[in-house]
Amino acid sequence: MPLWDWGFAIEILPVLLGGLVTTVEITLLGSVLALVLGLVIAVLRRARIPVLDQLLWAFVEVVRSTPLLVQVFFLFFVLPGFGITLGAFTVGVLALGVHYATYTSEVYRAGIDAVPRGQWEAATALNLPRSRVWTAVILPQAVPRVLPALGNYVISMFKEVPMLLAIGVVELVNAGRQVGSETFRYVEPYTLAGLFFLLLSYPASMLVRRLERNRVGT
């Protein structure tokens, strides 16, 4: 039997593409959660509400310093004890989204800090309500400059979706694993899985790099 069987590779392509679709779905949903929740955490921390601020700080530090896989297991095994039973797909989106929200919150914070003080003062002088200060003055200046950093985290998240096979999500690698366990051929499924990641994430990171360079230029 040859090391690489083209016929077999083509035959398993539909299964792998199905896994790829799931991977992309989880990445997109997880990204939405990470981008929104991260912004909420950043803005809340900016308000410096006692106790809440310390709680958020501790939360961000713990999540950033412990393994994502352990957090996935945490949600998967602990939530049912509180009467919340979610599917593996949902747990995956939740775990990735919350994990990356702690990273994006720091990115947003850096972006918010980079907005000149004069902008805050001008907004206060104009007597804008607090919500308008954020939505009309600060965020439109803070968010565009951190877009490349946010993009990098979305790409990182995409590459970490395979971890969810541990709770049974049939993403790309798990699809390959299932093919492998039925046919006892792992060379094609795992190699193709790796290629799929490269084909999507490499152009994406090129795009982010271009975005970065343009921003430095302006």
Binding site: S65, T66, F77, E106, M163, Y186
Partner: protein, 237 residues
């Protein structure tokens, strides 16, 4: 609720050596690969740069879990030799983070001011001496803080070794403790989180020390302020 605490601690303690070996082994391999590939990225020969670039982008562009499964399940078919799970894990951790570290090393070397090169040339130092005596000691100081972040990423990544049956902390928790003490899930995960936090703190303490030593060697002192964000290195794990 705390009745099972001694058992839980004992089971997790059994996994601790594996987590530590995987992390330390991964870090050693990361340092070697990062320095070699990082310097290759700066080589005057185009083919050397291309070779290193392929390694770096290949490992940064694919998923760590895929790399691990590939080395553990596919490589044996190709070369006819099956790696022990722990060593397959160390190799993946090293190869993956070495690729990120290569960019750190490249950036650090490039951040050494141009004048330092010129001064070294003016003093008549050859290329090797120039690197060893002038450029690298200064580059190391620059590289250590981002390397700290990278090593903590590596520690966190070591949890995926549980997926290829390495009996480290995460696998002990999931496969031994959760089935046995289903009512103590919060306690189990609380301790697991603490273990990783502690190990991360140890890495940071070690790296801070190394940074002070390296800075003192080139006659600098380390500032107290340091960005919390991983510099340029992808997030996650």
């Amino acid at each position: 609720m705390l009745d099972n605490l001694p058992t839980i601690l004992a089971v997790l303690a059994e996994g601790l050596p594996q987590t530590v070996v995987a992390t330390v082994g991964g870090i050693v391999l990361t340092i070697v690969l990062a320095v070699v590939a990082g310097l290759m990225l700066l080589a005057p020969q185009r083919w050397v740069r291309v070779l290193s670039r392929i390694y770096v982008e290949g490992f940064r562009g694919t998923s760590e879990v895929v790399q691990m499964f590939w080395i553990y399940f596919v490589l044996p078919v190709l070369v006819g030799y099956q790696l022990v799970p722990l060593w397959a894990g160390v190799i993946v951790l090293g190869l993956n983070h070495g690729a990120y570290g290569a960019e750190v090393v490249r950036g650090a070397v490039q951040s050494v001011p141009r004048a330092q090169y010129e001064a070294a040339i003016a003093l008549g130092l050859g290329p090797v001496q120039r690197m060893r005596r002038v450029i690298l000691p200064q580059a190391v100081v620059e590289a250590l803080p981002p390397m700290n972040n990278l090593f903590i990423q590596l520690l966190k990544s070591s949890a995926i070794l549980s997926l290829i049956t390495v009996e480290e902390v995460t696998r002990q928790a999931r496969d031994v403790l959760i089935p046995a003490f289903g009512q103590d899930t919060l306690l189990i995960f609380g301790i697991v989180f603490l273990i990783y936090l502690l190990l991360a703190a140890l890495i940071t303490a070690g790296m801070r020390f190394a940074e002070r030593v390296a800075a003192a060697r080139v006659g600098r002192t380390v500032g107290r302020q340091r960005p919390v964000l991983p510099a340029g290195v992808g997030g996650g794990s």
